[in-house]
């Protein structure tokens, strides 16, 4: 189910559709945070942020697919 949604999100990436695009930008930022985490604790915090951003992106983009 989520695979399809991520695909749809990718399709929307260039569309710049309001909340969906903003959520995806935040999601991208959280991936950057995860990549730059220097300790296990920072990684845990970043992963929490990625998981939340993922949920927000799914919610924001779901009705536009």
């Amino acid at each position: 189910m989520k695979n399809l949604e991520i695909n749809q999100m990718s399709n929307l990436q260039g569309g710049g559709r309001g909340g969906c695009f903003a959520a995806m930008t935040a999601y991208g930022t959280s991936i950057g945070l995860l990549h730059n985490a220097k300790t296990k604790e920072e990684t845990e915090a970043a992963l929490g942020a990625v998981a939340s951003a993922f949920a927000a992106t799914v919610a924001a983009c779901e009705d536009q697919s």
């Binding site: 990549h35 990684t43 845990e44 915090a45 929490g48 998981a51 993922f54």
Partner: protein, 248 residues
């Protein structure tokens, strides 16, 4: 009769040349195809600082593969090879679709993956030509170690040389529950996000998930328990040693 024989001989000669050219083309093609097939096989490496295992199956210049960055994290790869250049995409079940760009250097594949605006290095070294691997063998069989059950107070965080490391996040203690839940103080969990733990050999893994299908595993390093002291050493990504004392 003599003319006929001469014509026949010329024909045979021409055919021989024809066969020779076909053979030459076949040899050249085989050399080219085999050259690319050398890239086929199983690989090990790192992605986002974590350990990965990868299979690349090549047909012509088309690559189809799969990448594991944890025992349960399987992502698909499609790409093309042109000379030593590798271009394609990865379908990561958490980060979505990413663009892959890189090249082969001897037995290594050096790539960058682009997810949204993030360029992440992806390094692979060929292990063998085999197109199979046992994920359990690479990452091991997950289980809960009862010696970890309970609360652990953080007493130290250093680099591998013993020098203090300052983290932007400060967990005072961590808890390994008997039901597999993993919690930590200092950073409140966001709504719907859940952490679980398991071990493989002496390696501690954390599994992060949420209520809408997000799921990701990462290695937190190798652990050792001695006299109620837990030492967690991570040499690949963080290069840190964490020390905890069992809370009684």
């Amino acid at each position: 009769m003599e003319l006929l024989t001469h014509k026949l001989l010329r024909k045979i000669k021409a055919m021989t040349h024809y066969k020779y050219y076909i053979a030459l083309i076949f040899v050249a093609y085989s050399f080219f195809a085999n050259g690319q097939k050398n890239y086929q096989g199983n690989y090990a490496g790192t992605f986002m600082g974590g350990r990965v295992a990868c299979l690349l199956k090549i047909s012509g210049d088309i690559v189809v593969g799969s990448m594991y960055d944890g025992p349960e994290n399987n992502h698909s790869i499609t790409a093309t090879i042109e000379g030593d250049k590798f271009n394609g995409s990865i379908y990561h079940k958490v980060f979505g679709e990413g663009v892959l760009e890189g090249s082969f250097k001897e037995d290594s594949l050096i790539l960058m993956v682009y997810f949204f605006d993030n360029a992440l290095p992806f390094l692979l070294k060929k292990q063998s030509d085999k197109l199979k691997f046992d994920v359990d063998k690479i990452f091991g069989k997950p289980h809960l170690d009862k010696n970890l059950f309970g609360d652990w107070l953080k007493i130290d965080l250093t680099d591998l040389n013993g020098k203090k490391v300052v983290s932007k996040v400060n967990h005072k203690y961590i808890t390994f529950s008997e039901n597999g839940y993993y919690t930590f103080s200092g950073e409140p969990l966001k709504s719907g996000v859940e952490f679980n733990w398991y071990v493989v050999g002496n390696e501690l893994y954390e599994h992060v998930s949420n209520n809408v299908g997000f799921s990701y595993d990462f290695s937190a390093g190798t652990y050792q328990i001695k006299n109620d002291t837990l030492t967690l050493t991570e040499r690949i990504k963080f290069k840190t040693i964490e020390t905890y004392l069992r809370k009684k």
